[in-house]
Every structure is written in structure tokens, then in C-alpha cells.
């Protein structure tokens, strides 16, 4: 809604909460990229930064929860205002989870730094993380622009991330079968791949919130599911 509320303080409250979401989104985008880069370049310092940075993300989520509760109590939002407030809560929860996955990747970076990279899989993980980060950026853009079409496109793109994960899963299985000494590294790499794949799911959930907030309807089509690793032996 471009129109202003008669109570201008209501507008300021809503804007403040959305500004927190954007700040949180920026921190999470950086966390995704930095965790993947630290993995590829064996940069323990950068990994440490990601782990430390998660505290700021968590604090922002707390702040958003508090301010949202306050806004609901004081302003009793309705219609698109209500949908905005509800979506803010869910978007911040999803961002917080993505931040946790980044932190988890950064933790494994340290472990992997001692072992060897397996056949360039760190680069593949970075490409996957790059795609998730782009999806997140578009989802947040869609949120700010009130663009349900862009959000729907983001939802569709999760399929690509799932397929990248499937490829990595098979690859890592092969490496482990080839040489049992690879198992430890491959397990870590697999967890990282799974974390990134889960990030994609959370980005999708954010995009779904955008569709709901903008249109008032939940996305109708079933989400594309391309993670088929649970079906293979």
C-alpha cells in the first residue's frame, strides 16, 4: 500500500520493522557468501567472522519479535498491514535459520581446512551457495517491491538448488566408495551441501510469505521438489 496511514506513527513503526528485516537480510546474504568463500579458500579468519556474526542476526530476530508483538498490541493491524506483520515474523524466523546454517558451514570449514578438498567440490558448493544467495536477494527485493511475480520465480528456482544438491550427493558417494580415506571429508562436505539445500528451502518459504503478503493468497501450486536423494540407496 502506497497510501499513508492517518496515524503517521503507525507508518513509522511498520517502516522500522521492515528496515530491521532488510538489515537482517543483508547480514544473512553476507553470511552465506562468506561461509562458502571461507570453505573454498580455507580462510579460517573469515569462517570465524561468520560464526561471530550470527549473534547479530539472532539479536535482530529478537528485536523484530519484540517490536512486532508491540505493534500488534498497540495498533491491531488489519488486512495488508496484518499480513505484513505476520510475514515479518515468519521471514525473520527463516532468515535466522539461514544464518544458523551459514554458521554451521563456517564451523565445518575449520575441520576441512586440515583435510583435502575433494575434486573441486568446494567450488561446486560455492556455486550452490551463490545461487541461494541470489535467490535470497531476489526474495527480499520482491518483498520490498511488493512483487509477487518475482517471488513466484524465486520459488521455482529452488528446483535448481535441489538438482545441484543431488549432483553433489552422487559425486560424494562415488568418492567415498573409491577411497574410504575420503569418508570424513565427504561427510562434512555432504552436511554442508545439505545445509545449503535447506537454506534454499528457507528462501523459498520467505518467497511464499511475499506472495501471501502481496496477494492475500498462499501460493497455490505445490512447490517443485527436486531433492530426490531420499529415494536413492
Amino acid at each position: 500500500m502506497s497510501e499513508q496511514h492517518i496515524a503517521s506513527a503507525f507508518d513509522r513503526d511498520l517502516e522500522a520493522i521492515q528496515a530491521h528485516i532488510m538489515k537482517m537480510g543483508g547480514l544473512v546474504e553476507a553470511a552465506i557468501m562468506n561461509s562458502a568463500r571461507s570453505l573454498e579458500t580455507r580462510d579460517e579468519e573469515l569462517a570465524q567472522q561468520v560464526r561471530q556474526g550470527d549473534k547479530a542476526i539472532d539479536a535482530l530476530e529478537e528485536l523484530i519479535n519484540e517490536e512486532t508483538a508491540r505493534l500488534i498490541a498497540l495498533r491491531a493491524p488489519t488486512a495488508s498491514d496484518l499480513r505484513l506483520v505476520l510475514s515479518v515474523l515468519k521471514v525473520s524466523a527463516n532468515l535466522e535459520r539461514i544464518g544458523d546454517y551459514s554458521k554451521n558451514i563456517a564451523k565445518r570449514t575449520t575441520v576441512l581446512a586440515s583435510g583435502g578438498d575433494i575434486n573441486g567440490s568446494a567450488a561446486a558448493l560455492r556455486r550452490m551457495a551463490r545461487e541461494v544467495e541470489r535467490m535470497l536477494r531476489d526474495a527480499l527485493d520482491a518483498y520490498i517491491q511488493r512483487d509477487a511475480e518475482l517471488a513466484a520465480e524465486v520459488i521455482d528456482r529452488d528446483e535448481e538448488v535441489d538438482q545441484m544438491y543431488n549432483g553433489l550427493f552422487r559425486e560424494l558417494l562415488t568418492f567415498m566408495a573409491e577411497d574410504p580415506r575420503n569418508i570424513s571429508s565427504c561427510m562434512h562436505l555432504h552436511f554442508i551441501a545439505k545445509n545449503i539445500e535447506r537454506m534454499g528451502d528457507h528462501v523459498t518459504a520467505i518467497a511464499e510469505q511475499v506472495v501471501y503478503f502481496v496477494t492475500g493468497e498462499r501460493p497455490t501450486e505445490a512447490r517443485p521438489k527436486a531433492d530426490i536423494t531420499s529415494q536413492s540407496a
Partner: protein
Amino acid sequence: MMNQMTNVERSVDSKNIKIAANNVQVYYGDTHAIKDVNVEIEDKTVTAFIGPSGCGKSTFLRCLNRMNDTIDICRVQGDILLDGEDIYDKRVDPVQLRAKVGMVFQKPNPFPKSIYDNVAYGPRIHGLAKNKAELDEIVEKSLRRAAIWDEVKDRLDAPGTGLSGGQQQRLCIARAVATEPEVLLMDEPCSALDPIATAQVEELIDELRSRYSVVIVTHSMQQAARVSQKTAFFHLGNLVEFGETGQIFTNPVDPRTESYITGRIG
């Protein structure tokens, strides 16, 4: 989803149409106050009319029991059917109609009589009681139904005007239900009441719904959201949107409804 509220208290008990308005136009002299309103009000349902001042919601409410007949310059066109019968038919006696379609006003307006006589007045003029015992019974039942019996049972001879504002309003509701109406119209029934008395009246409205069709005009959107199952939004004499209350307050269809209920300049 959001639009299909499954809460028990929100389920509409009946799909029977109690009042059907077709192409209703109201004019005050040259002013076109109600423009082609079509609406179906269900039985055993609370329907809220909301909208800015002067939007026609009270005018339309007053059409439903022909209160506008008392205003000389007011003309009503179109059909308003109560149980399928045109209430503006020449053969309909407005006094009988208003016994069937009761009304509660913004300011509590008890008669300057005793609490007992306030409630007994309607049943007496409509001859609903054969003797004093029956009348006593009607008075007690009505006061109980209006959730005020316990507060006044020991002082039924005291003047109704001596009660507190919230009590007076519940006394007026008791007076309205004493004639066994089928529809209860309420025009801002809580605007002169404090939050506690408001909550009591709202609780009462919810109980009355099991027996009557209730139509309430309110400026409090939160009240409309709390008490009603259906909400109608009026703007400049038009019925802009009519729908399930949960839908109106989470995902209204018309941008004018959205602007109004979210507190924006429409």
C-alpha cells in the same frame, strides 16, 4: 485457509436468509443517501455495518424496521424482504414490524419509568401476556437474556434512568428482546459505554445470536471484528463489500475497504 474460519464461535449457524434487500435506494430530499444496495442478512448471525460517518450505514439500518418512515423528506425505494415478505407493503403495520425487528440505539434511552415497566411496556402494548404472572415471567426472562437480572432483581421498582450507562444499555436490550423479536438492530450500542460494559454487551450479542439475527452498526472496527460473522462496508452510500468477517479483516477485495479498515486515507 485464512478465509475459512473454522473456530466454533465463528461458524455461521444458519444459511437462512432473514432479510433480503434488493436495489434499495434512499433519498433525503434531493440527497441520494443509499445507492442501489443489495444485501442478504442471514438468520442467527451477527452482521456488522462499518464505514465512515455519513456513509449511509445507519440510514440503511433504519430502513430495516422502517424507522425512516418518521422522517418526512425520506424516501425509500426497492424491496426489503423479511422472511420473503415486503416490509414496505401497505398492509404491513410498522408498529408490528418493529416488534419483530427490535432496535437498540447509541445512547441508552430507558423510559422514565421503573425497570420493570421499561421491559413490560412492549409486551403490554402488544398483548403478549394474559396476566400479571405471565408478564412477570417475560420481564424476568428478558432481563436474564440481557444479562442484567442479577443486578436489578431486587430493585425492579427503581427508575431505569438511575442505572449506570452499561446497565441502562442492557436494560434497553432487555426491553428490545421482551417482544420476542426475530431481528435485533443495534446502532452503535456501545459507543457510550466503558470497556467493561462494552465487553458485557458484546458477550450478550454473541448469546443473542443463538436466537436472533443481529445487525450492528459500529464505528469500532475492532468491535465489528470481535462480534460479527459477516461484515458490510459502506462508503458514500454504496455497499462496497460484504463478506465473511475474517476475510474482510485479513484480505478485503476492494481497495476502499482496505484503506478504511487499515486506517488510511481512502
